[in-house]
């Protein structure tokens, strides 16, 4: 080979590599409020050298991007695949990327969906191995297959075993409920409160005034004090902390049972959760009322909306952190003025899980 074509090839590869790096580094920097959009548009329009070799670097870039950046990268991957030779699709590299659980869940899911679109046979063969996957959206495929297999199984004992397996490994609510339903139909006893880790023992104080929905933003004493007082001036006289628990099969706590069906009121519920280590967790809350949640005095999230749909399990999934030992969880749950039959509920359910949806159990040692 002559020297000039070789040098040209080397130059071409370097330019392409630099273009890819510029593009991926730009997409990683996409921020909130459209920050980074202009740079991304410039980087995409400049880079005409994308081919199948660009897919893996783009997937790796997703590990560092936020969810908006992920969508930019999905768009670029999609355009790359369309403009490239299908024969060169890097199946093995993408498969390896999927198997490496140190990659981010969202980028591994994208890798799996790429395999589904470009090599469905391989993708289907991978599904059973996803049953232990820490990424719930990938694990879901394996559970769905087990539930399908169980529904088609004619041998009752094998079907029972499959449903038990699905229940043991499922992390997502609808799959847990489907497996539970099938097992209960077969005479099995399932304790969903224990299985899903709902917190059922609380203390509650109220009612406080929420006229014209103003109580949501008003700071009542239970929000600020580090040591709770015994009683406060409430909406209907003195309000005292009292034990508050539930035997509901999905851990639902009905505040109406405590105070009667009153309107324009709010209450605080608190509990102590003992963690055996400092760890990142997800607080999974369901409530059709307006609410705020604090962990160890820090406000994690709030939602000022009433009765838009039913209370759902895991309706709100909020990232948080627990310290080792006792953690104080405080909830403010508000009821509004509406009088329709579908606005009577004043309720919540709450559990704490890891990122995969696995319940975190309280330490037995306080």
């Amino acid at each position: 080979m002559k020297l000039v074509p070789v040098l040209f090839l080397v130059f071409f590869c370097l330019v392409r590599a630099n273009g890819n790096e510029l593009l991926t580094s730009t997409l990683i920097k996409i921020g909130a409020h459209g920050n980074g959009n202009q740079e991304a548009i410039r980087a995409i329009s400049k880079d005409n050298q994308l081919d199948h070799s660009s897919i893996l670097p783009l997937l790796i870039a997703m590990n560092s991007a936020n969810s908006v950046g992920d969508n930019w990268i999905r768009a670029v991957i999609s355009e790359t695949i369309i403009s490239s030779d299908p024969a060169n699709f890097p199946i093995q590299k993408i498969h390896n990327f999927l198997e490496n659980q140190s990659n981010a869940g969202s980028s591994r899911l994208t890798a799996f969906e790429l395999l589904q679109d470009n090599n469905p046979k391989l993708a289907n063969s991978i599904i059973p191995s996803l049953i232990h996957d820490p990424e719930p959206s990938l694990r879901r495929y394996a559970i769905a297959k087990i539930l399908d297999d169980a529904s088609l199984e004619k041998d009752a004992e094998i079907a029972l075993g499959l449903y038990q397996k699905a229940l043991n490994f499922a992390r997502e609510v609808d799959q847990i409920q489907e497996a539970t339903k099938q097992l209960r139909n077969r005479g099995e006893t399932i304790d969903l409160v224990e299985l899903m880790g709902f917190i059922t023992s609380w203390e509650i104080v109220g009612p406080f005034d929420n006229s014209e929905r103003m109580g949501f933003g008003k700071v009542y004493s239970p929000e600020t004090e580090s040591v709770s007082r015994e009683s406060y001036k409430g909406k209907n006289g003195q309000a005292k902390w009292t034990a508050f628990s539930t035997s509901h099969n999905l851990g639902m706590l009905d505040i109406n049972e405590e105070y009667g069906q009153i309107k324009e009121a709010l209450a605080y519920a608190k509990t102590t959760f003992v963690s055996d280590s400092a760890q990142k967790v997800q607080i999974r809350l369901g409530s059709k009322n307006a609410w705020k949640v604090w962990v160890n005095g820090d406000l994690l999230y709030s939602r000022d909306e009433y009765h838009r749909g039913k209370t759902r399990i895991d309706q709100f999934v909020i990232d948080g952190e627990l310290k080792k030992g006792a953690n104080k969880i405080l909830l403010k749950v508000c009821q509004n003025e509406q009088t329709q039959s579908w606005t009577k509920q004043w309720e919540f359910c709450l559990r704490i899980t890891d990122k995969s949806g696995k319940p975190i159990r309280q330490s037995s040692v306080n």
């Binding site: 930019w72 000022d304 909306e305």
Partner: protein
């Protein structure tokens, strides 16, 4: 003004001159549910100009038609977290391209609606797709990404537990996006060139499923934003309020602008506002509580207003006076808005029955019907001598 924005505006203006046959947004290019292009009259499931194709996900959004392509959104996955934008060849229904994204905002919805509830808006150059998760995508007609935004990534509390459905509008180089809820509630003007925020308005904190409307006179265009408070007219360039009608309005059916420069607001039944030539003020000219719409929005054509109420009664009234000209009962229940072509009105009920009314008759009646045997909650498009309509599973082109 940026050079790119000036070029963009010039291109958009030239395109507007040639789009009469297209259906570019929710309730058509005019936003009033009617098209000046010819309609097919009688429609057939298996006609030579008809086809049906499967969809990869659910949706209530309407199809839009640009040149020879039908564009549609859908959502799929256990939590409807996968967002689809799909292009079909209008002549035969073959898929031209599909782009898939993931929702960055909340996807919880009432079971009757879904994440793909908002209709795409196009200016003939690009597509603006909005989803209930408050993800906004701008793609070229060939599916290439131009820009995207995750508005709930920026403002996590812009969400509605029942789902959202407002459709975007494009005006003066700006994508107008209404994301209004009980919690955080905003309207945005996004730069069509790069998706950055041109303006952001705090709006009344109340759930709102209505869509922005265009109000036009000569070369001037302003935008009407509806809410439970009424209708606020804004300048699309900077979002500044121009005038406000403040006697309340529905939060489900949207207002309709007519060529008589009258805006019909679903307010206290139906309220008609006559807009001045400079679009800087309005005068209330009539109101009639017998013209209160149900879920669907009012449609206008040739000086007449058509509205379906919650009892499935289709009413026709004069746009200028509000005088009710005729009424007829349809087979309901009806969730979608009626659409009108050259001579016929088409309305789908929730069980998939399309009822066709010939508007040339003195005493109109349903002259023809066709049953898709599928749940239809969205509003059709009228273009290319055909009706385009979708369910959660299929997209139809229904021609003669």
């Amino acid at each position: 003004m940026k050079i790119s924005k000036i070029i963009f505006l010039l291109l958009s203006f030239s395109f507007i001159q040639s789009v009469h046959a297209e259906w570019l947004a929710f309730r058509g290019s005019q936003g009033n549910g009617s098209s000046k292009s010819s309609d097919p009259g009688k429609i057939e499931l298996h006609g030579k100009n008809s086809w049906v194709t499967e969809l990869p996900g659910r949706g209530l959004s309407s199809p839009v038609v640009v040149n020879d392509t039908v564009f549609l959104t859908a959502s799929s996955g256990p939590n409807q977290e996968t967002l689809h934008i799909i292009a079909f060849e209008q002549t035969n229904g073959q898929k031209k391209w599909e782009r898939k994204f993931k929702a960055t905002g909340r996807t919880v919805c009432h079971q009757k609606t879904c994440v793909a509830a908002s209709t795409i808006a196009s200016d003939g150059q690009v597509l603006i797709a909005q989803f209930s998760s408050n993800d906004i995508f701008c793609l070229t007609l060939s599916g290439r990404i131009k820009w995207l935004r995750g508005l709930a990534f920026d403002n996590p509390n812009i969400a509605n537990g029942l789902g959202m459905s407002s459709s975007p509008r494009i005006a003066s180089g700006t994508a107008i996006i209404q994301v209004e809820n009980d919690a955080d509630s905003f309207s945005f003007g996004l730069d069509m060139a790069d998706g950055t925020t041109v303006w952001k308005k705090e709006r009344t904190r109340a759930a709102n499923w209505t869509s922005p409307i265009s109000i036009r006179k000569n070369d001037r265009e302003i935008i009407g934003l509806q809410s439970k408070d009424g209708l606020t007219a804004i300048d699309p360039v900077n979002g500044k309020n121009l005038w406000a009608y403040e006697e309340g309005a529905s939060t489900i059916p949207s207002s309709t602008w007519t060529e008589e420069n009258i805006v019909l607001v679903p307010s206290n039944g139906m309220t008609a506002l006559k807009i001045d030539k400079k679009l800087m003020s309005f005068k209330k000219i009539w109101r009639d509580n017998k013209l209160k719409p149900g879920t669907g929005s009012p449609t206008t054509s040739k000086g007449k207003l058509y509205v379906v109420n919650n009892a499935n009664v289709l009413s026709c009234a004069s746009v200028k006076t509000g005088e009710i000209l005729w009424r007829m009962r349809l087979q309901g229940p009806v969730s979608s808005s009626p659409v009108i072509g050259s001579h016929h009105l088409y309305i789908f009920n929730e069980t998939g029955l399309c009822q066709v009314v010939d508007l040339r008759d003195e005493s109109p009646s349903v002259v023809h019907s066709i049953d898709l045997e599928d749940t239809i909650l969205g509003t059709p498009a009228v273009s290319k001598d055909a009706i385009f309509i979708r369910s959660d599973k299929r997209l139809w082109k229904l021609g003669a």
